[in-house]
């Protein structure tokens, strides 16, 4: 980790309007949970079971399927991609700092940012909708989102070093691979970060498997998620070590 790189990255990310939009998106999920809470009446086991199912659906379909990939996409691609795009990356790279340190620092900041904007709203929304921790279901989702955010951020950061259209490729991965193909073909789910995250949530919670309906077993999720996280990080380091300024202006 390099403190100067970390501070610069943090100021760059926080200064962007998109962070505000992501905060609003997380806030929207909390608002949905709050509206559900206001519309539920009574108590007892049936109401608790209903609340648990609603919470699981909300956190899966909004938290893990929309908020987590979107936040990680914007954080992961912006942390280094934005500097490459506007040319400021030269000031960072023209210093005696190893490229591996730069990538690892930027990745760490992207992950911290993504976790704050994802896991915190997931935890709050879950807490409100389930009216408690729901036998560990809510913290399980929040913790799983930490791991999922880390894998996504590493992938999207690597995307930004491979292509100048990282945002488009990231969206295609989330919308086509994860949302479309993973629903149609069981084999494609293995490479879905969302499915891996769900498997982590399932393993971390005491809720019955039917509540989360995870499609991957934990071992597969750990192995494939680990390969994606480490592989993407190594790829990003290698790409930055061989980074070339393209284009001839004079």
């Amino acid at each position: 980790m390099n403190a100067v790189v970390a501070r610069l990255t943090l100021r760059q990310l926080l200064g962007r309007r998109r962070v505000l939009l992501l905060l609003l998106l997380g806030g929207l999920m909390v608002l949905v949970a709050f509206i559900y809470l206001l519309n539920t009446t009574g108590g007892g086991q049936v109401a608790d079971a209903r609340a648990r199912i609603f919470t699981s659906r909300l956190l899966q379909n909004f938290g893990l399927a929309v908020l987590m990939p979107l936040v990680a996409l914007l954080m992961g691609t912006a942390t280094l991609g934005a500097e490459i795009e506007d040319g400021t990356v030269v000031y960072l790279l023209a210093k005696p700092v190893s490229r591996r340190t730069i990538v690892l620092t930027k990745l760490a900041i992207a992950i911290v940012g993504a976790v704050l904007l994802t896991s915190v709203p997931i935890f709050l929304a879950g807490l409100i909708a389930a009216r408690g921790l729901a036998d560990g279901l809510v913290p399980a989702f929040a913790l799983a989102a930490v791991i999922g955010s880390a894998i996504y951020c590493a992938m999207f950061l690597a995307f930004s070093l491979v292509t100048s259209r990282a945002l488009i490729f990231g969206l295609l991965y989330v919308l086509v691979w994860e949302a479309l193909l993973a629903g149609l073909f069981a084999g494609t789910r293995t490479l879905s970060v969302r499915q891996q995250t769900l498997a982590f949530a399932d393993a971390l919670s005491d809720a019955p498997r039917s509540v989360l309906n995870a499609q991957l077993d934990l071992t597969t999720a750990v192995v494939v998620g680990g390969i994606l996280l480490i592989g993407a990080t190594i790829l990003a380091v290698r790409r930055l070590q061989h980074f070339e300024i393209s284009g001839e202006t004079g």
């Binding site: 100067v4 200064g15 000031y91 023209a94 005696p96 700092v97 070339e244 300024i245 001839e248 202006t249």
Partner: protein, 309 residues
């Protein structure tokens, strides 16, 4: 290590760089040690490509590029020895000038980053604006902040890509004075420019690059002489082109005269002498001059002439 055995500050040997089928740099070799050198060439000639290779941001397709004997490509350690001012007008606009230079000092792992930043800011005379965000700076001020950041670790080698872009005349003069002083202190300074006058005022040595090739290198005055002594072409309109052509043909500075489709074209080996004598000769021949136009005087054509030599 003796001075003789010490590697050159900058060493480029048979370097080529191509993008697909496009050759950006073609078999360029030179060495530089100490003083200010201008890298002169028209836009698109390959100056930035060469500077990118020197600063380790582009891998040569063939040949070698070294700073003090160390290959530049994929080697971040060279940045202890060089300061780089890129051409692209980019900056961390959310930082103040001082924060930007201090961040550079910290990334260089200097023991007293604040003091080093204050010294570098003083060199470019930016004290009064140092606490304002870079986003509020003029182009010239942004450029000075970039130069301060490049100088903060007191590097022996400075690479600058079109450093005077966006500067007003006073800032330009000051920057030239600063670079001249740093060059006289023994630093190796290489700056690119497409403006002959800029290079002439600052550089002792010049590298002329045209279409990816090193067209000329050496003392600036010698190169300048080659550029001015080349044949110049003029088109002339007068009251009697035929009579004027007849008196011009015998003159020693005239390399050729042609009269095609009513257009008188004259080629001269000496721009100055021809310009001075043509009106006198016309008067002697009883001809009125209407128009005398030098043709093909663009910098590109001057450079092309050097390549053809």
């Amino acid at each position: 290590m003796t001075a003789e055995s010490r590697p050159a500050a900058i060493s480029v040997e048979h370097v080529a760089r191509w993008y697909g089928n496009v050759v950006a740099i073609n078999d360029v070799s030179f060495t530089l040690s100490g003083g200010v050198t201008g890298l002169l060439g028209p836009n698109g000639a390959g100056k930035s490509t060469l500077l990118h290779m020197l600063s380790g941001f582009l891998r040569p397709s063939t040949g070698s590029v070294a700073i003090e004997g160390t290959a530049t490509w994929a080697n971040p350690d060279i940045y202890r020895r060089i300061g780089l001012v890129p051409e692209r007008e980019s900056a961390y606009t959310f930082l103040s000038g001082r924060e930007f230079v201090i961040a550079s000092a910290r990334l260089q792992k200097l023991p007293e980053p604040e003091a080093a930043a204050a010294r570098a800011i003083g060199l470019v005379e930016m004290e009064s604006a140092q606490d304002r965000p870079i986003g509020t700076y003029s182009k010239g001020m942004q450029q000075r902040a970039r130069v301060a950041a490049a100088l903060v670790h007191d590097p022996p080698i400075l690479l600058l890509d079109e450093p005077f872009n966006g500067m007003d005349p006073r800032q330009r003069l000051h920057m030239m004075e600063l670079l001249r002083r740093m060059g006289s202190e023994g630093r190796t300074i290489l700056f690119s420019s497409h403006i002959l006058e800029e290079v002439g005022r600052l550089a002792e040595q010049v590298l002329v690059i045209v279409a990816g090739r090193l067209a000329a290198s050496g003392d600036f005055r010698e190169i300048r002489r080659l550029m001015t002594d080349r044949p110049h072409t003029f088109t002339v309109r007068s009251s009697n082109d035929r009579a004027l052509a007849a008196v011009l043909v015998g003159q020693p500075t005239i390399a050729g005269v042609s009269l095609d489709d009513g257009l008188l074209t004259v080629r001269s080996n000496d721009f100055g002498a021809f310009s001075r004598m043509v009106s006198g000769l016309a008067r002697l021949a009883g001809v009125s001059l209407h128009e005398l136009l030098p043709t093909d005087e663009s910098l590109e054509s001057v450079f092309s002439y050097l390549v053809r030599r």
